[in-house]
């Protein structure tokens, strides 16, 4: 029986909400609880429920630059959601489970590397925390994240944009019609991680059939080539035909079939705000699919049967699929200098809007084009909260597999920024040694977080 079970952490956070009437509130997983409990699925021998646990501050610091510090951006609920994902991952890596579902709140896929506040209902990125945790604690290198939320997983994309070992695939409703307005096929990753980011925008109103065309003809073949050691599904459920925020027409069964085909190690709940008409059914169907059970009897009350697709839109999707397959197949043959230029640093300016907290952020991100490693990253970030002076911080991130030169240069960059008064905080995130530094300019004080050693 070993290795046959599906692990579940169900953490509905019944005492946590963004605000009383916000879609991300206490009630969100209430009906899912009722459905799962009433079905008796937790009594099935193939499903094992785990008690949640908290992620550590250090687990967060390994991924995010929280301004001014981790504790000011996360609540305990965030730590529990992220910790639950790492808890299940531990059990999967240790062979106790074949796969798992972190059915948790709050979600995280809009949270970027730098965190000034909440955007898209997210503060910290549960999947990204999981990836860095898997690398640090279990030595897993190649990881794929497939984001099935109706919104582009822009936070996850941002965090792994220059990471060649993390494949990020997101399909979502076309960004011209929905928050956050990004996720187009030309966003393919930085110079060191070209085509490790794949975005598939879908025209609104698309149903299961075309969704599975994308899965079969693009997502699964790419995954097969990439050969990830670990697959994570950012399981957003707002592509459902009843979702109030999205305009797609996927069904619970469509989601379950996708789960079966993708066969992820771990699904982590993201969005999905049709709390009565979709979530109870989609969550149940995904859980059954993970456990290898028949999900064909799961049917939402308003199930419309098969829906005719608009041929013009289907053709559009087919063209995108073809274009991206082409990109993927030629990824090692393209001239990166032509795309990214020939400088030592590749840099991009970003404007980031925090829709929940109304923060405007301006970023200058620079990544060193290094022949020996993915290169260190610096971010100069200025956030305007709409009151008082904007806060400005400088962040340096050293990748897990950094070379000696990049590491030395990165520490120099940190030291240099410490001397510049325009930065209120200066951060250094050294993933290669699992060390994090933060410097408070006003107090002229440095914090260090070294975290637990491997194996502790």
């Amino acid at each position: 029986m070993k290795n046959k079970k599906t692990g579940l952490v169900f953490f509905p956070a019944f005492d946590w909400a963004i605000s009383p009437t916000h879609p991300e509130r206490e009630e969100r997983l209430l009906y899912t609880r009722d459905q799962i409990f009433e079905e008796g699925v937790l009594d099935l021998p193939e499903i094992e429920e785990y008690a949640p646990r908290l992620a550590t501050i250090h687990d967060i610091a390994r991924v995010h630059f929280c301004v001014p510090r981790v504790q000011s951006q996360v609540t305990e609920a965030h730590l529990i959601a992220a910790g639950s994902a790492t808890l299940l991952a531990d059990a999967i890596v240790h062979g106790e489970l074949k796969n798992g579902f972190a059915l948790v709140r709050p979600p995280g896929h809009h949270a970027m590397r730098v965190v000034h506040g909440n955007r898209g209902f997210c503060n910290i990125n549960n999947e990204a925390i999981l990836v860095e945790y898997l690398r640090r604690h279990h030595g897993i290198k190649r990881i794929a994240i497939v984001d099935s939320d109706v919104h582009h997983g822009d936070g996850t994309q941002d965090i792994f944009y220059h990471d060649p070992d993390v494949l990020f695939i997101s399909f979502h409703q076309d960004g011209r019609t929905i928050y956050p307005g990004t996720g187009f096929p030309n966003e393919l990753g930085g110079p060191g991680a070209y085509a490790r980011t794949i975005n598939i925008p879908l025209p609104p109103g698309l149903g299961d059939e075309t969704f599975h065309y994308v899965v079969d003809n693009l997502i699964l073949p790419i995954l097969e080539d990439f050969k990830p050691e670990f697959i994570i599904n950012s399981a957003g459920q707002d592509n459902h035909f009843t979702d109030p925020l999205g305009s797609m027409r996927f069904t619970a069964r469509g989601y379950a079939e996708f789960t079966r085909k993708l066969n992820p190690h771990l699904a982590v709940l993201e969005g999905g705000y049709a709390i009565e008409t979709a979530l109870p059914y989609v969550n149940l169907a995904i859980l059954l699919a993970l456990a290898g059970h028949d999900y064909s009897y799961v049917r939402e009350p308003e199930w419309p049967g098969t829906m005719p697709e608009n041929p013009e839109r289907v053709a559009r999707v087919q063209r995108v699929v073809e274009q991206l397959r082409n990109v993927w197949e030629n990824r090692d043959r393209v001239d990166l200098d032509k795309i990214f230029g020939t400088g030592t640093f590749f840099q991009r300016r970003k404007h980031i809007y925090y829709d929940t907290d109304y923060i405007e952020e301006e970023q200058l991100e620079r990544v060193r084009r290094c022949p020996n490693c993915p290169g260190y990253i610096t971010i100069d970030s200025r956030a305007d909260h709409g009151y008082g002076h904007p806060s400005r911080v400088f962040c340096v991130s050293i990748p897990f597999t950094a070379c000696g030169t990049c590491q030395t240069e990165a520490y120099d960059a940190y030291e240099q920024a410490r001397g510049l008064v325009q930065y209120q905080f200066v951060y250094l995130q050294d993933k290669s040694t699992d060390t994090f530094l933060a410097f408070d300019q006003d107090k002229a004080q440095e914090w260090v977080s070294e975290g637990p050693r491997v194996g502790e």
């Binding site: 953490f11 019944f14 005492d15 009906y31 409990f37 079905e39 699925v41 305990e76």
Partner: protein, 559 residues
């Protein structure tokens, strides 16, 4: 004066308590005819005591457990309305199962209507196969029982003499498969249990006892015998609950591991902050999962009479019993023989005990004392491991709120309390391994009967209100009522639940225990649609105080 009687598998134990002091106790063998053992035990403790002085009699019994284990009941057919969800092929119920159309959702709304022709067909097929008893259960019937009632009415219209049992009347909690099993077992045992209850009432009144008669439930609460007719299955597994309550009555409050070492099994239970720990889900009955609330009890298949054998270079303790220990004339060595050799018990013949150890140890070149200590160590290790596992399992219970996750703390027992025949020899070493104080309370051999005698009557009422749809449900009664006030809130819900509890108490003749009500669950969810609060879901559970009436042996001071 209170009487407690525990009708166990091998012995029937009884005590007579007089204001917290044990006045008489008895231990008689349990015979096939439970009633005669019950009466014999009763007569023994009542020597010279007028029946009229007895205020209450509480007993725990295996009668339902045995009925189910031996399948001594009439066949029961199932008519189910599972609606969409899990594949029906995952349900494996041990009888003829008919699945018909019709579905209710989690808020009690009809999503698929019934088709009465399917009801007729299912009933006709059951009739053709000789069934006269049927359990009717729908998914989410605890949120709306309309379909169940319609199906039952239709079945009874066709077959007026059938016995039909409805899911929502048996179990109000969520979990459809467990509700099916609970309803099935209730339907199966009701008639036989009724017969049993009548004969007990008859026998006790013959002895001139006019006090109230109660029966212990698996969750450690008692019910008036008459009321237990409604919920026969809840009287299952009351034995372990009895000894746990006995320990609670005989020891000071705290974190305690209860170790009841019997002949073939050892039952473990936990008392945390002075209250026995309830299992988070319903009990497993005859390998089926039910909704029966029970104390968290772990039965470990090792006891004083377990068979010990040498296999190769190893000494193994088996989970079976093949008669008495060797020192008491049995056929094979047992842990009791090991205890005898080590001087930890005075049971049986010392020479025969040494002989038993000799048989085991000679081929391995081990001395009699070495073998004996190896055997006892094995037993102690097994039990210690299980106690640790129980505490970890308790810590691993899922939590659905932030504060629940944060308040979880590591709790470990401070005392290990031993009851039952084999306790004396093992408990001090088990306690030592766990870093606890060992306790063998006075009257340990009849702790179970004491537990029964002092168990409190329990009643609970769970109210669920849906203010958007304007109705409320009393889960335990299967009642659905309308909410008329527009401003119905949490406080109103609580008041209403208390009213229902008082009504329920009056019906069971338990008016006294409504004092000191406890609110065990209180949940309110605002239902927001399009950024506007359209209603509230309110869940409230109130219950009478759980636990024991008083501690025993300390002069009978009240709690």
């Amino acid at each position: 004066m209170y009487i407690g009687i525990d009708v166990g598998g091998t012995c029937t134990d009884a005590v007579l308590l007089d204001r917290g002091l044990v006045r008489a106790m008895a231990k008689v063998p349990t015979r096939e005819d439970l009633l005669s053992s019950l009466l014999e035990a009763l007569d023994e403790i009542m020597k010279g005591v007028e029946g009229e002085l007895v205020e209450r009699v509480v007993f725990s019994t295996t009668v339902i457990t045995n009925l189910i284990a031996e399948k001594k009941y009439d066949p029961v057919g199932l008519i189910l309305m599972p609606g969409p969800g899990l594949s029906p092929s995952l349900y494996r119920f041990p009888t003829d199962t008919h699945i018909i159309q019709g579905a209710i959702d989690y808020r009690g709304r009809e999503i698929i209507p019934l088709r009465l022709t399917e009801v007729d067909q299912a009933a006709a097929e059951l009739a053709a196969r000789g069934y006269r008893k049927v359990a009717v259960v729908g998914k989410f019937s605890c949120r709306n029982h309309r379909h169940e009632k319609e199906v039952a009415a239709r079945v009874l219209w066709n077959y007026p003499d059938w016995h039909v049992e409805l899911g929502h009347q048996v179990a109000g909690q969520l979990n459809f498969p467990r509700r099916v099993v609970s309803t099935y077992l209730t339907c199966a045992t009701r008639e036989k249990y009724q017969f049993f209850v009548r004969s007990v009432q008859e026998a006790i009144s013959q002895r001139g006892i006019k006090g109230a008669i109660f029966i212990l439930k698996a969750d450690g609460g008692t019910l008036p015998l008459e009321s237990s007719l409604e919920v026969p299955v809840e009287t299952i597994f009351s034995g372990p609950a009895a000894s746990t309550l006995g320990v609670q009555a005989l020891t000071p409050p705290g974190e305690t591991a209860v170790v009841d070492i019997g002949g073939t099994t050892t039952d473990l239970a936990l008392i945390l902050s002075g209250q026995p720990l309830l299992a988070s889900r319903g009990a497993r009955v005859d390998d089926m999962l039910t909704h029966v609330r029970a104390l968290a009890v772990k039965s470990v298949p090792v006891g004083g009479d377990s068979v010990v054998e040498r296999v190769g270079k190893d000494i193994i303790i088996y989970s079976e019993r093949l008669g008495a220990p060797y020192c008491l004339g049995g056929p094979l060595p047992t842990p009791t023989d090991a205890l005898r050799v080590l001087g930890l018990t005075r049971l049986g013949d010392a020479d025969r005990a040494r002989e038993a150890m000799q048989m085991l140890g000679a081929p391995l070149g081990l001395s009699v004392a070495e073998v004996a200590s190896r055997v006892t160590t094995r037993v102690i290790e097994t039990i210690t491991r299980e106690i640790e596992a129980m505490f970890s399992r308790w810590e691993q219970e899922p939590a659905y709120r932030v504060w629940e996750v944060l308040q979880k703390k590591k709790v470990r027992p401070s005392t290990v309390v031993g009851v039952g025949g084999g306790a004396a020899g093992f408990v001090s070493q088990i306690a030592a391994r766990l870093g606890c104080y060992p306790v063998i309370p006075p009257y340990a051999p009849v702790a179970n009967a004491i537990g029964a005698a002092v168990a409190r009557p329990t009643l609970q009422v769970t109210l669920r209100a849906d203010t958007e749809q304007g109705f409320y449900i009393i889960l335990e009664e299967g009642y659905q009522g309308k909410i008329t006030e527009r401003s119905f809130n949490e406080e109103n819900a609580l008041e209403l639940a208390k009213e229902w509890l008082c009504k329920r108490a009056a019906r069971h003749g338990l008016e006294d225990c409504v004092e000191g009500l406890e609110v065990t669950r209180r949940e309110v969810f605002n239902m927001v649609r399009d950024w506007v609060t359209v209603g509230r879901l309110i869940d409230v559970t109130v219950q009478t105080r759980r636990g024991i009436l008083y501690h025993v042996g300390a002069g009978g001071t009240s709690e």
